[in-house]
């Protein structure tokens, strides 16, 4: 069973790496969306420094929304999802592998891009470490919750928009604690509580996400 899981994970990573263009699209969207804010609110460094934590987190979440739709869709359409469901590994393991591959190919590039955008948005120097740490701790929850949304909307009409409608309310806590960690660091307050909360949310998503997404996949395949 473990061997089957390893095979699935290797397959997912290989597929994801072959589609490096998709990671690039997500990062490009992140950069463009974040660059709309200086153009919208004006280039004043003080204003930008004030809004940078929230802007970075919110636009990173929106960019992640773009990447969920393709999580199960190709495998569902060409029938390989059914094949994977028949393998000895449980569907929950497949979800975990998919979420991990998603995290490596979509979330990790966002984490790399975030500090660069932070510089451009005049994020104060104290904010960079909690920004990166918060994203590292919080994005697993986003990948896992996105996997649940992708599994639920598999085969739905207007799946992409629906997916965002379902997932955005569910990831609000990640946004709140992530942005608050950066703001706390800038204000000179301790950030450990926020980072603990982010890690806690990711742990909770790690326990419940595969289970919910697995159930959703099972009933999508039952049709």
């Amino acid at each position: 069973m473990i061997a089957a899981l390893g095979l699935i994970l290797r397959r997912e990573l290989r597929l994801a790496l072959r589609q490096a263009g998709e990671s690039a699209t997500v990062v490009l969207f992140f950069i463009l969306a974040a660059l709309l804010f200086p153009l919208g609110v004006g280039p004043s460094p003080a204003t930008l420094a004030r809004i940078a934590p929230g802007v970075l987190w919110a636009t990173a979440l929106l960019a992640a929304m773009l990447s969920f739709e393709r999580l199960f869709q190709p495998d569902f359409e060409d029938g390989s999802l059914e094949q994977l469901a028949l393998s000895p590994a449980p569907l929950e393991g497949l979800v975990l592998a998919k979420a991990l591959a998603h995290w490596l190919t979509a979330a990790a590039p966002l984490i790399v891009a975030a500090p660069v955008l932070g510089v451009m948005l005049n994020l104060p120097a104290e904010g960079f470490v909690p920004l990166i740490a918060g994203m590292a701790l919080g994005t697993p929850a986003i990948s896992l919750i996105g996997a649940v949304g992708a599994a639920l909307t598999l085969g739905a009409r207007r799946g992409g928009v629906l997916l965002a409608l379902l997932v955005i309310p569910l990831v609000i806590p990640v946004l709140i604690f992530g942005a608050a960690a950066v703001e706390a660091a800038i204000g000179g307050f301790p950030v450990r509580a926020h980072l603990t909360a982010l890690g806690g949310i990711s742990l909770g998503a790690l326990v419940l996400g595969p289970w919910a997404a697995g159930a959703a996949l099972r009933q999508a395949l039952a049709e």
């Binding site: 009409r157 955005i168 909770g204």
Partner: protein, 253 residues
Amino acid sequence: MIQRLANPARFNRLAGRTMPWLAWGAALCIGAALWLALAVSPADYQQGEAVRIMYVHVPAAWMALVAYAFVALASAGGLVWKHPLAHVAAQAAAPVGAAFTFLCLVTGSLWGKPMWGTWWVWDARLTSVLVLFFLYLGFIALTAAFDEPQRGERAAAILALVGVVNVPVIKFSVDWWNTLHQPASVMKMSGPAIHPSMLWPLLLMALGFTLYFGAVVLVRMKALLLARRARAMAMAQVHRAAPAAAEPGSAHG
């Protein structure tokens, strides 16, 4: 009792018998609550007459939560115990819950304008209710998003259960976010002790809303069951209209 309701014909009979009682009870309770709320109860010494908005706002907020709990319980009933009416109940209740949530949001805004000076404040309670509203909309959109209704109702049921786990986390994070961004200068909606003259219209209105919820959910469940039957019959007709040769099993004679 719940097991016996599994038969749709029996459910229809029972629903037909209880529906008028619920509807008349709701009308009576809401009527009495309106009279108490608008004519009898005194104005609040802090909020003045604007306190009368609370007699709609607070029961609507209760109903928003009660209806979500109902949707989640029914979804669990459908997924875990496979009760044939459970998904129908969840699907029937979600729009009613969304309506109460919307009412709660708009009345909160109408109360906020004279009290806070703006139509919308990112108050922890209003923000959580707004998120709850979007959870309802997601549930309704997901039930309608598939060509096979069974797929939609089961996906939506899983979403409802995910929401149940998530709602406390969202509530906690929003509360916490709120204390972070604005100190507790915001006036509390109700004091520590509610005077009985205010409690009665609140309780009666809440009871009336609950009865109304029950009545409308029963009507919508009946309509959903009939829609399902009409769909099945239409499918059967398509089958019959198709040439018999297409079905190897249905030889003539």
